[in-house]
Amino acid sequence: MFQGLAYSGKKDMKSALASYQQALKVSPDYLPALEGAAQIQYESGSPDAIPLLEHVLKVRPTDVTSHAMLAVIHARNGDCATAVRHFSQAGSALESQPEALQGYGVCLLQLKQADEAVRVFQQLITSRPDDVRCRRALAVAQLAADKPLDALTTVRPLLEENADVSTMRLASAIYEANKDTPNAVKVLHDAIVKDPTQIGLYVDFAELAMDHQSFQAGVEMVDAGLKAQPNAPQLYMARGVLYVQLADYEKAEDDFEKAERLDPTLGMSAAAQGMLANEQNQNDPALALATVRGKLAKKPNDAFLLYLQGAILSKMGAEPGSPEFKQGLESTKRSVKLQPSLTAAHNLLAKYFLDGGENALAAQECRVVLQQSPTDQSALYHLVIALRKTENQAEIPDLLKRLAKARQVATKQEGERNRYKLVVASEP
């Protein structure tokens, strides 16, 4: 043990580690040796640090340093659930570790614990008031916590000076969340002027245009982006989606094909073309189905295409027990298995289960949707109906309240979408 300390003092970490390991062979729970070995492994980024730190915690469960180290390692590994568990027990060990605090906040955001993330980033910004990244992170957390006014207060100092494009993009989102669409558009426009090559800015504008039903304005801005970046597949995808809303299906199809040619790995192109087929052939679902099936033949594991196939079959009125119903159900089941985050597919699956009398399964799917999207009206409604049919009434009153609230929010949002139309006057 003392040999290990001595080697550490001489910065001979390899020998120090060997000495600690030797000591642990003699006394496996010997804390100074465990801590010394864990420190070396942690600093070298070795995965062997984890069992050592866990061993320390077994012996001394309240060791804040070990919790902090484990948290950082798990955060780096992308295991935010475990990381947050340790961060929350790291206490004072985080106070002097801005990077760890940053990791804690990011993980909380990933776990959708936005309020807690705000608290963490506020702690961080107290120690680093001039750190632009910290301030931006706090603003992001406040936005996620549905506190857009706080986010605006946080980000405003950054805008007073020569803000970078990333900050301007964030500010645009914050202005929009504050229902200040003119400023959201202005700051995004300024960002585009500042760096006309940034593809994401045009996609952001397209998103704003979608939100405000200003599809043509979105198309015009993406056109400008394509002049600056003529080979950006994302811009073709975005414009294609906007063309679909304008029912300009030929142009949409051209854009989706171009996007796929430019980047066959983009992934969304086949799905977009499937959606296009569905939209374009509303009056001929058989044709839409054939198109989607054609795409599926090339990409049999595309979750969105599988969902579309299920949706079209459902729309065609597939009766429970029929081969079409069975195929639609199976297609939707595969879709959610391949992409569990696709809430539209879960909702569709719930509908299939409801139609097929599988009410308990329908309820299960609705709950999956509601975990991801707590105000999803279809999921709330289908859950009410499924529970009624399973004679499981206890939960219904609360769900009805949630549904009423969700409707109010949706109606309000509809009004928000309509309150401002975007018009592109000139190219940036």
């Binding site: 992001v140 990333s166 993009r169 964030l170 645009s172 989102a173 929009e176 995004l188 994401g200 996609v203 952001d204 397209a206 998103e207 704003l208 979608m210 039903q213 994302q234 995808m237 975005a238 989606v241 809303q245 969304m268 799905a271 977009a272 959606m275 939209e279 509303q282 009056n283 001929d284 679902p285 969105f304 729309k315 065609m316 009125g317 009766e319 696709l342 809430t343 539209a344 509908k351 009206q377 279809s378 999921a379 709330l380 409604y381 289908h382 009410v384 109906i385 009624r388 219904i396 009805l400 549904l403 009423a404 409707r407 109606t411 509809e414 009004g415 979408r417 309509n418 309150r419």
Partner: protein, 587 residues
């Protein structure tokens, strides 16, 4: 926004076209759904043809309702209902038509109208003689014998003061609103739907009134002023969204010619977030007590279930009739009630705004509904803003069909967007007898295909020839009277009910007719369609069957069975006494 750059495409892909289109509909909810694909035509002949005989019948006066080319306020847009009523008990259906007025003042034609049936296919305007001349923004009508004197009375809703007209039994009516205790205090209400209903089964008809919005000309926004005042980018009258919701009212009949407001103690006043329109009161869960359904515009529709103790519980969402099958609000306007699948239970058909399907709801007999719009193939029609509706056997083949009338609320739009005309055709779905219906574009007469901007309609047999005719309100035009001419005669039965312990009109009675291996339920209601009242004689088409067994569930709770009743005639059935001679017309 930085975080969701990729999510833009994903979200856009997942956002259905309907959600996007929803955002484009401004004052009125519409899901923006595309029509279901029409199945191949069945090729089967349809035996009913509808001819508009209003002109030759003497129904010349236009139904005045707001501006002709432009509607500044929603008050001008929704129109009104009508009724078949046998006010003189001669066995022939007379006609009562409501009317609106104009913002700049009422023209001379603006009045409600009562037309007496001359029993020869023509009518005589007896409005003034009957004491029913009235000017204002009338909306709904319900008919029932509230004082059990053997003569049907009339209740009319208004933007403003509602009115109760007592039938004096001598061809005249008296406005008894004040003495009945129905004068409203406070700001003007917008009375919309109404229904006579004996909710406490004491033998006296009570009264339910839905209210649409709280509206005043002083505070109402004007076209284009708000986001709820545009449609397809064109400034139009505002609402209902953006305007405060109305409160619904239940009046209990004290049995002495007066009513009192029991909304609070009955649990009606808890429903405060809906724009109420047409009201249908019937026993949906078959427990012997009447429930109340209210079609609501751009908000969840309401289903008040009767607790048997003078109170109600609102369960529209849970029972599947408040929202679309994807949980969205719809613009509920009119309601048809009937038994389309012949399972002995009362189903509902609800009309909606353009770019949405109507809603068809199948009742499981316990008052729980499954939406069968697509399964029944009525989702093929989304082209029209739809209003009055009925589930009636129009061709007497034994299977109830569906007919509804249509018309835009925005006359100014078609000048800029000709694809959205103000006047549109009627829609007829014939029942194929296999759980599905087929929309008939032709072969059912010019009365169906001719375009009007229609609102309320009433179903009944004005010429007593054994089929169902249709009276239709057209905005700022004379009404339509669609005479049903059967191409091939099939069998039928009409049932007139007379309450004894129950209210005299027998409103709330449920009748199940068994014929030719089929069982069809019907309810006697005082309002359905859109703000309108149908012929109170229940009409059953029988197809080839010659006789009928009847089960009658009287409002009092009495359950009677009558067997082997021969068809092709009207029968009058008195509660507890069986068949009795018809009053007036008989066949």
């Amino acid at each position: 926004m930085t975080l969701n750059r990729r999510s833009f495409v994903l979200l856009s892909l997942c956002a259905s076209a309907q959600q996007l289109a929803t955002g484009q509909q401004q004052g009125i909810a519409s899901r923006g759904v595309k029509a279901q694909v029409k199945p191949a035509p069945s090729g089967r002949p349809f035996n009913a043809e509808f001819i508009d005989v209003a002109k030759q019948s003497g129904l010349h006066a236009p139904v005045i309702y707001g501006g002709i080319d432009q509607k500044k306020y929603i008050v001008e847009a929704n129109g009104c209902g009508c009724a078949f009523i046998d006010y003189d008990n001669d066995g022939w259906m007379d006609i009562f038509l409501l009317s609106g007025t104009r913002l700049e003042g009422a023209p001379s034609e603006a009045t409600n109208r009562l037309y007496k049936n001359n029993r020869d296919g023509t009518f005589t305007d007896v409005t003034e003689k009957a004491g029913l001349k009235a000017v204002g923004w009338a909306n709904g009508v319900c008919v029932g014998d509230y004082n059990n004197d053997g003569f049907d009375d009339i209740f009319c809703t208004y933007f403003g003061q509602n009115r109760l007209y007592r039938n004096n039994g001598n061809g005249t009516f008296t406005d008894v609103t004040k003495e009945a205790g129905l004068v409203q205090s406070g700001p003007a209400r917008w009375g919309a739907g109404c229904a006579f209903v004996d909710y406490d089964r004491d033998g006296h008809l009570d009264l339910f009134v839905s209210n649409y919005i709280r509206f005043s000309f002083e505070n109402a926004p004007v076209p284009g002023e708000k986001s709820t005042c545009n449609w397809k980018g064109i400034p139009v009258n505002c609402g209902p969204r953006g305007l405060p919701t109305g409160r619904h009212v239940l009046y209990r009949n004290n049995g002495d010619g007066t009513f009192r407001d029991v909304s609070k103690q009955a649990g009606i006043d808890v429903a405060i977030e809906s724009y109420g329109m047409t009201v249908v009161a019937a026993d949906f869960d078959e427990d012997g007590w009447p429930d109340i359904f209210v079609a609501c515009d751009s908000t969840p529709s309401l289903l008040f279930m009767n607790n048997h103790d003078g109170t109600f519980r609102e369960e529209g969402v849970t029972r599947g009739v408040a929202l679309s099958d994807d949980g969205m609000e719809q613009a509920g306007m009119g309601v048809g009630i009937g038994d389309y699948n012949l399972d002995g239970h009362l189903d509902l058909f609800k009309t909606h705004f353009i770019d949405d399907t109507s809603g068809f709801y199948r009742n499981d007999g316990k008052g729980n509904f499954d939406e069968v719009t697509r399964a029944a193939k009525v989702g093929v029609e989304t082209r029209f803003t739809s209003w009055g509706a009925g589930i009636f056997d129009l061709d007497n083949d034994g299977y109830p069909d569906v007919l509804f009338v249509t018309g835009s609320v925005y006359p100014e739009v078609e000048k800029k967007l000709p694809q959205y005309p103000y006047k549109t055709r009627r829609v007829l779905f014939r029942n194929l007898g296999n759980g599905t219906l087929e929309e008939l574009e032709s072969q059912c007469g010019e009365g169906i295909t001719t375009a009007h901007s229609s609102r309320g309609c009433a179903f009944g047999d004005f010429d007593n020839d054994g089929d169902i005719d249709v009276l239709i309100v057209n905005m700022n035009e004379p009404p339509s009277l669609l005479r049903n001419d059967q191409k091939v005669k099939q069998n039928w039965l009409k049932v007139k009910l007379e309450g004894v312990k129950s209210n005299r009109s027998a409103i709330g009675a449920r009748v199940i007719a068994h014929y030719g291996g089929k069982s069809q339920a019907q309810a006697l209601v005082s309002q359905s369609s859109y703000y309108s009242c149908n012929d109170p004689r229940l009409h059953f088409g029988l197809g080839a069957a010659m006789e009928v067994d009847l089960e009658i569930y009287w409002p009092s709770g009495l359950h009677e069975n009558l067997r082997h009743i021969a068809g092709n005639r009207l029968v009058t059935i008195r509660e507890g006494a069986g068949l009795v001679p018809n009053r007036g017309w008989s066949r």
